[in-house]
Symmetry: C2
Subunit: 440 residues, 2 copies
């Protein structure tokens, strides 16, 4: 190696921290047709669940929203999208495998936006660098991505998936871009993906510019600010596949008279109040706004023509149950808050101290759900679902019936946590030829 390439190698190391070089000759000259040069990066990105909902675009191509939104980033230990990207001049073209199945990358306009934007930034870097940089912007890439949860479960897989893609591309290309600037790119892949680039509590500021330059995510508070906040995801089976959110929200914009009122008069105040509630760790305000905003989002779906339904009878029963639980709270304070995205699954936010009671409660009325106990709340011998909230004297046990086993198929206990992570080489989803280790 020349001194120059040596220096370049060190710079790369500095910038990329845990970026991996699978081969021992990472800086082999690209002019050598026989040399296989592959740079490979693997990252995970988390799921985020909004407490002020995003619903409606003012520009569908750039994915510019009609209102601000705010979400909580959930632990990647429980739910994540994992993406490995390899770059090589020897690859014939960009290829993509999603959950073990190859997809036609050229047909995915939104993913294409993310490649175009990150490559353009890499190109700038290459052009402006005093030192010659590897022309990664010109190399085809292989992308392999997997969720550790069923895509069909409707758990915001596009947010974590596109966040993982953009974050991994940024690491692959050693982009010095700030997370908020990256979020602007992720936004063009999938709107809510921009919020999955941060941990903790994240606002997506809608911005006002036509080019979307000011429509990006900012961190309201890191996960360390309020680590007691946990979440229980109740996966609700639904025979009917709901309307896709992309299609649904544009129908709402086009047909719902109530949406404009929500955008103009309701959300701005809720954003202010919610940010303050988070900074104050005020669960009462956090919970009330979370529930109200979920309900209003589903209300504007119902005001759409034809109406969009995401909640089913099981979803609605969980809402009733949480209201009964809150209404009978011994000190009159809210103990839990539900929220629902574009599907029937409930996400219940609550302080850690209430979560065991809530898991008992949900399991009591919705028996038979798969439940792993990641935080060891239940000692051996304690049957999940055996206890109703002891201190709630006025709790009406008949508020909802006990549902048939499996109505809630899975319970995922998780918590507020960090943003995307770079993983070690051993976590790669691609083999040494840059092909998936697992195919479906």
């Amino acid at each position: 190696m020349t001194n120059l390439t040596c220096l370049f190698f060190l710079v790369i190391i500095k910038f990329t921290d845990r970026v991996l070089w699978l081969f021992s000759t990472p800086l082999a000259p690209t002019s050598s047709a026989n040399a296989i040069m592959v740079k490979v990066v693997t990252c995970t990105a988390p799921v985020n669940i909004a407490v002020i909902k995003y619903w409606g675009k003012r520009n569908a191509a750039l994915i510019l929203p009609t209102n601000d939104s705010l979400s909580v980033t959930l632990s990647q230990d429980i739910l994540h999208s994992k993406t490995t990207i390899a770059a090589s001049p020897d690859f014939s073209h960009d290829r993509l495998w999603l959950n073990g199945k190859e997809e036609d990358i050229t047909k995915n306009k939104r993913m294409h936006n993310c490649f175009r934007e990150t490559r353009a930034l890499r190109k700038q870097l290459e052009d402006s660098s005093a030192e010659p940089l590897e022309p990664l912007s010109t190399y085809p890439v292989h992308v392999c991505s997997e969720n550790n949860f069923p895509t069909a479960a409707g758990l915001a897989s596009s947010a974590s998936g596109l966040a993982a893609l953009v974050f991994t591309l940024a690491r692959l290309f050693d982009l010095p871009t700030s997370t908020s600037d990256l979020s602007r790119i992720a936004r063009q892949g999938s709107g809510s993906a921009c919020r999955s680039l941060f941990g903790g509590f994240v606002a997506w500021e809608m911005g006002s510019r036509d080019d979307g330059a000011d429509s990006l995510a900012v961190q309201v508070a890191p996960e360390t600010h309020w680590p007691e906040l946990q979440a229980l995801i109740c996966v609700v089976d639904d025979a009917k596949k709901g309307t896709s959110s992309t299609e649904g929200m544009q129908n709402t914009v086009a047909t719902s008279p109530l949406l404009q009122h929500r955008i103009r008069d309701v959300v701005p105040e809720r954003m202010r109040d919610m940010k303050k509630a988070i900074l104050d760790r005020d669960f009462q305000t956090f919970a009330e706004i979370t529930m109200r905003d979920s309900n209003q989002f589903h209300a504007v779906c119902l005001d759409t023509f034809p109406p969009i339904f995401y909640l089913n009878d099981v979803s609605r029963a969980i809402i009733r149950l949480i209201h009964e639980y809150n209404a009978t709270s011994p000190d009159g304070r809210l103990k839990a808050a539900y929220t629902y995205d574009a599907g029937p699954n409930a996400v219940i936010y609550a302080p850690k101290q209430n979560m065991k009671e809530i898991i008992h409660l949900i399991t009591r009325y919705f028996p038979g759900a798969d439940f792993v106990d990641p935080y060891n709340f239940f000692p051996e011998g304690e049957v999940v679902g055996s206890n109703l909230p002891h201190t709630h004297d006025k709790f009406n046990q008949n508020v909802i019936p006990v549902f048939p086993a499996g109505s809630v198929s899975r319970l995922l206990h998780t918590e507020v946590a960090d943003g995307p992570r770079v993983l070690g080489k051993e976590e790669s989803l691609l083999n040494e030829q840059g092909l998936p280790l697992r195919l479906k």
Copy 2:
């Protein structure tokens, strides 16, 4: 009889038409303590189903609404409340039997309003008459009322019930009051009852006065204007008894940010458009506004905190089915419109010519419903539910699953029809002692 009482008798006959006198000495002097003098009137009043929904009071005591509403009066041959009222100085006090069970009339504030107002009008009549009138305003009454449909079915029984009460009292007292003026009294019994005093298409104008003097019903068009309009009521079983509409609408007023927008910016335009659609017999506009307004009413229920749910999975499936039916209409025109009140039952409005197809369609997906065929649409041998809409080439048979038998328990086929009717003596619900013929 003196000439004077003879004249009075004739006047009574003229005013009351089919008013009944159960005893042969109707004009026996009231001073005679031994004489039993009873005047008895029996009437029916229809159910009305709103196409622009009433939801929210600006004055709960006077039942003054926050917006105009508009309804269609449905045939009393299919659904009605029937009320017999007898007046006698020998009755000890006012008594009331509802569906065969005696109720404490003194505890029913709203019913009390109707008695007070109609007695006051009768008193004015007695005081101002040149001829002495029977002091009916001072006699206790016995009221017996029955619905020909289960109250529990959630079919607007309070509207028809209170309309029947007020209409029967007006006939009992020979009030020369106009129907709109009577509707102002019925409104104080149950808001939507005011609309059941007219046949055809009826607007409840919210008015602006604090005393409610201008909050009353007016007929937009009589039933003869558009007799082709029919309705199919799908009675949907629901395990959970929903929130009462009285309680529910006040929670919406207090907590829904979207309601104010509906009241101010949405309903006035819809009222104008709907009235024009009715006058033009324009089913396309009628259908679209009807469906949109039903959806928006349920949207503001969902925007209430805690949220109110009236639609269940069966209700939502019927909505999907009607949208599929309309979307695949051969000439692109809407063929049916759903609407839902404060409960899970669907009411499907459609021109008569589409109704057979709709009954087949609903029965195909919701088998096992009781169905009487009042208009003889189905010749012997034709199985109800056997046909899908033949001419809808693109109809997706899997738009919803076939539901378990009895999910829709009853189908009631009815049509736009006339207002309250006075019945003959043989229809009385009270015996000669002024006591119910049937008790529960």
